[in-house]
Amino acid sequence: LFPRNLKWKTTNVTFRIVNYTPDMKASEVDRAIHNALKVWSDVTPLVFRKLHKGTADIMIAFGSKEHGDFNPFDGPNGLLAHAYQPGNGLGGDTHFDEDETWSTDSTGYNLFIVAAHEFGHALGLSHSEDPGSLMYPVYSFSKGFPLSEDDVHGIQSLYGPNPNPPKVKPHPEAPKKCDPLLSFDAVTKLRGETIIFKDRFYWRLHPQMVDVEQSLIKMTWPVLPNKVDAAYESAEKDLVYIFNGIRMWALNGYNLVEGYPKYIHKLGLPKTVRRVDAAVQITGTGKTLLFTDEDYWSYDEYSGTMDKGYPRSIEDDFPGVGEEIEAAFYEYGHLYLYRGPIQFQYSYTSKRVVGILRANSLLNC
């Protein structure tokens, strides 16, 4: 919240669209603004009324550089928009940088998402530190209902909940790294760092840093889906492979490799396999292990074919780790396998589990 918890004194708030961007049709702008306000009225008792003339509480305008409030924009990119906290005069007013390219989709900056964020300010919310929240100050494109639980808690602490709430599901708060029950979706190495996927987020762990960095997957790799089932790095090819359902993506750093996504069946998996739970390349062998349900497969990176004799049982070949695996990575002769909140350290040379820790020991917890 802003200092002094500023808010509108009434639940009836008026808005007016003063001008339009030429980047979109006027009807598309109207629709984006309507939907952005609806995001907040869905979770509060607030009612928004559109004015066509005169002064509204929230005056919405597009402008570039210095645009009348001594708070100039900066040309393309950088600052996208700003809005003033509730109050008289400029209070509640919302300005969009006309030097940006606005769009209804992800081709430019999505007006609906930016407007929903700015209206959060116009209603009394400040910025959030939760990278998965709408009120995080950095733009990222995503589909669906944009509010997280953090946003909902914030706005409802000012205005209360909607007495007749529609069925909307806010995103859960960003996972906490030291939650003792934390489990991982996927773990991979990436150019010497460790990347840990969980829900819409990933943590980035540098070998020489104690602190880990949490970000939205979409913020770094907009082409990827919101959830990752499995991931592994082929260090020789400088590629990271990402799995979700029956699709896989190859990434070279930030960039999607041409020709992807591909079906996982191109690797030689049968059509009955609908997802890969975990994937890991055993450094120096050219072999990649793909874990699916209670079995695992061995893929030869050099020949591009699945090894004969697979699938084999996880329980038989990795005694002590259980039947199924959710994430895996390999480092210094050890295979790290994850199931629920548990990490199994499996020695590849002695073929046995040599350590069991909580999964988030990887995050220095």
């Binding site: 802003f2 996208l80 700003h82 003033y84 906290q85 400040s126 910025h127 530190e129 960095e213």
Partner: protein
Amino acid sequence: FPLSAEDSEKGEDNWHFAEKYLRKFYGLAPGIEGLQKSSSSMSLVIKEMQSFFGLEVTGNLDPDTLEMMHMPRCGVPDIGEYN
């Protein structure tokens, strides 16, 4: 090795960019910073920004911090009150 002229210019650009960013969003006082030399006030403000974004808190203008400063964002300050 000494920095090439190009690298040095890039460093200056980054420094000016970071100063502008921190003035706009973190209330860094203008006109007190020496070029290429992190004063304690600048370092404090960088730490504040790094802490907000969950970056490693070093107080230095490291590549991750600069990268975050270059990301498209909202123009409402993270810290401090609008007047």
